[in-house]
């Protein structure tokens, strides 16, 4: 019943988001064009990088494309769901319109995480998914079990990205302007375009434990190409649950310290 209501609200947000974006017809077209351009650029980049067919850090051409595909997919997810919502938190705190979210009888964290959806960025996600499927279909070790496990790991990866991004945005309750904080995350996340296990040992440690980039692209990719290990799979699940829990706690704490903006 409760879940049904949230799905209903989400549906209305999606429809309202699409309607709002359709109001600006030129922007609609430009956005769509931009997405295609970005996807094309990514493809071109990989092709050039691997044009002579040499494997990089133990990852073959096709294996790396799985990682790049996942990276593109996650970027689409960030662009479609996280960026349009979470990056507005600072502005809303600054102007005091955050009040309206806190006044609504639905979970306010859900509300501020789902109100706006940039549907055009979903084309990135689709292109990413397409790349993964295409690359994996040509690999010998790819199996349906691996694909299923990969799918689960993608879900945990998206959860991890959400939790981290949400917590960074949440600092807006104190610092108000935090656009730069999420840019920092973006910077680190660019490392996710490459297989983390191909990097030197200490970098690998940083990107696994300090900034969990490895869990976002490399770990799911390893499952899909049939090279997973139980440790990373378990680690990914634990990291997702833990980070989501901490983000929830942080949220509760942040709103207890909320000072609103005087009118």
């Amino acid at each position: 019943m409760r879940l049904k209501r949230y799905i209903r609200v989400l549906g209305i947000f999606v429809r309202a988001s699409i309607s709002a974006q359709l109001e600006y017809r030129v922007n609609f077209a430009v956005n769509l064009f931009g997405s295609l351009l970005l996807a094309g650029g990514t493809l071109l980049g990989i092709t050039i990088l691997y044009s002579d067919g040499t494997p990089l850090g133990g990852w073959s051409y096709r294996e790396s494309i799985v990682v790049v595909g996942l990276f593109t997919l996650v970027q689409g997810y960030i662009g479609a769901f996280l960026y349009p919502n979470l990056n507005k938190i600072g502005e809303e705190v600054r102007q005091g319109t955050m009040d309206f979210n806190l006044l609504k009888p639905v979970d306010a964290q859900f509300l501020i995480s789902s109100r706006n959806i940039n549907v055009f960025r979903l084309t990135d996600a689709l292109v990413g998914a397409g790349l993964v499927i295409w690359a994996a279909s040509g690999l010998e070790n790819a199996s349906s079990i691996g694909a299923l496990l990969g799918l689960c790991l993608i879900v945990t990866a998206l959860t991890i990205v959400y939790a981290v991004w949400f917590m960074l945005s949440m600092t807006a309750f104190w610092f108000v302007k935090v656009g730069n904080v999420t840019e920092l995350f973006n910077g680190f996340f660019r490392a996710g375009a490459f297989p983390v296990s191909a990097l030197p040992g200490w970098v690998r440690l940083v990107f696994t434990f300090l900034i969990p980039v490895a869990f976002v692209t490399t770990v799911p990719a390893e499952a899909i190409i049939g090279r997973w290990n139980a440790g990373s799979v378990l680690g990914s699940g634990v990291a997702a649950v833990l980070l989501l829990g901490v983000s929830r706690w942080f949220w509760t704490y942040a709103i207890s310290k909320y000072t609103s903006a005087s009118s």
Binding site: V9, I12, E23, T97, D99, L103, P105, L111, S260
Partner: protein, 349 residues
């Protein structure tokens, strides 16, 4: 009109409510900005200082006070947005800061300077979002919309993009969006700010009508005295975080201004001295004169003036409420200035 719950406990109970903010200060200019960037100077501000009051169901109460008096902070604590530093608050039996669903479905907060409507879409789209969020059944939604459209004259503006509406039109839509779920407790923070007089009257009438129909409890803050005098019998005056007056509007006028003005139109000239005999001559312009007389002697003195002076016309008026409130603040400010700085300076260190 029809209301069944005549419960005896007040809808709003507030005891010793307190809110202390930490704010940082900055000296003007770039140098100040740099200093503040490196080391923030923190100051404690007691925005609301142990206030207590109760409000019964269906009452409309006006919060008055100068800017920064703590009215909005108090309202936001009642609405559950701000967590009190200390004290006791119940709204409809709920602790506001817990923000329970039943509580949130029963209240609303309208802020004249902020808007919740989706900027790029027609107001109707925002209403649909609220319908889903508040789980308003379709038939109830339709009925409410019909009523609101009629009273607020929303016809023709609901399908226009919100950003293309005038301020007044937008405010009407904001009100409708905020009241769509038929809350029983309304917090209205400057709902008429920036609107022209006609629109102010329209909004006022709507609030009064809503109060009648749903027996809603209303707390209203406004800069426009007319809003408050038209809607609220009871006034709570807040200044420097304290309640300096809580009671009937008429009692406030009596307390702060113990006189009435007898406004005379004379048929022939009479000397100032002769008029001053009856009371304090506050204005004189040709054949028009205002005489301030003690409240309890108004009728006796007015009768004497009618009998003894060549009077063409006479009216008896309360002094304008703006002036009364102004006098009240002037008084409390003087006291506050004496009392506050010692503590404030300590906090700043």
């Amino acid at each position: 009109m029809s209301h069944t719950d005549h419960s005896t406990t007040p809808v709003i109970q507030v005891r010793d409510l307190e809110k202390v903010y930490t704010v940082h200060e900055k000296e003007p200019g770039l140098r100040g900005s740099l200093a503040s960037f490196v080391r923030r100077r923190k100051t404690l501000v007691r925005a609301v200082d142990r206030i207590s009051f109760e409000i019964d169901a269906g009452q409309m109460v006006g919060f008055l006070g100068p800017n920064g008096a703590g009215k909005t902070t108090a309202l936001k604590m009642l609405a559950g947005l701000l967590h009190p530093t200390d004290g006791f608050v119940r709204v409809g039996g709920h602790v506001p800061k817990e923000r329970r669903t039943e509580f949130l479905k029963n209240i609303t907060l309208v802020m004249g300077q902020k808007q919740q409507l989706l900027w790029d879409l027609p107001a109707l789209d925002s209403f649909l979002v609220n319908q889903a969020i508040y789980e308003i059944p379709n038939d109830e939604y339709q009925a409410t919309m019909r009523e609101f459209s009629e009273i607020l004259e929303l016809e023709g503006i609901l399908k226009k993009q919100v950003r293309k509406l005038s301020l007044g039109e937008r405010m009407k839509c904001e009100l409708a969006a905020a009241l769509l779920h038929r809350p029983r407790v309304l917090f209205l923070d400057e709902p008429t700010i920036g609107l022209d007089v006609n629109m102010q009257v329209r909004i006022r009438e709507f609030v009064a009508e809503y109060n009648r129909r749903f027996n809603a409890t209303v707390i209203l803050t406004s800069h426009y005295m007319a809003d408050v005098t038209a809607l609220c019998k009871r006034i709570i005056v807040i200044d420097k975080g304290h309640i300096v007056f809580d009671g009937d509007l008429s009692a406030l006028v009596e307390e702060a201004a113990p006189g009435k003005t007898v406004r005379l139109e004379l048929s022939e000239n009479v000397s100032d001295e002769r008029l001053s005999f009856y009371g304090k001559l506050t204005s004189r312009e040709g054949l028009f004169a205002d005489v301030l007389v003690p409240r309890n002697e108004t009728s006796r003195l007015a009768a004497r003036m009618l009998a003894e002076l060549p009077v063409a016309d006479v009216t008896i008026e309360d002094p304008p409420i703006e002036g009364v409130i102004g006098t009240l603040f002037a008084g409390t400010n003087r006291q506050a200035v004496d009392a506050v700085p010692a503590g404030a300076e300590q906090a700043a260190r």
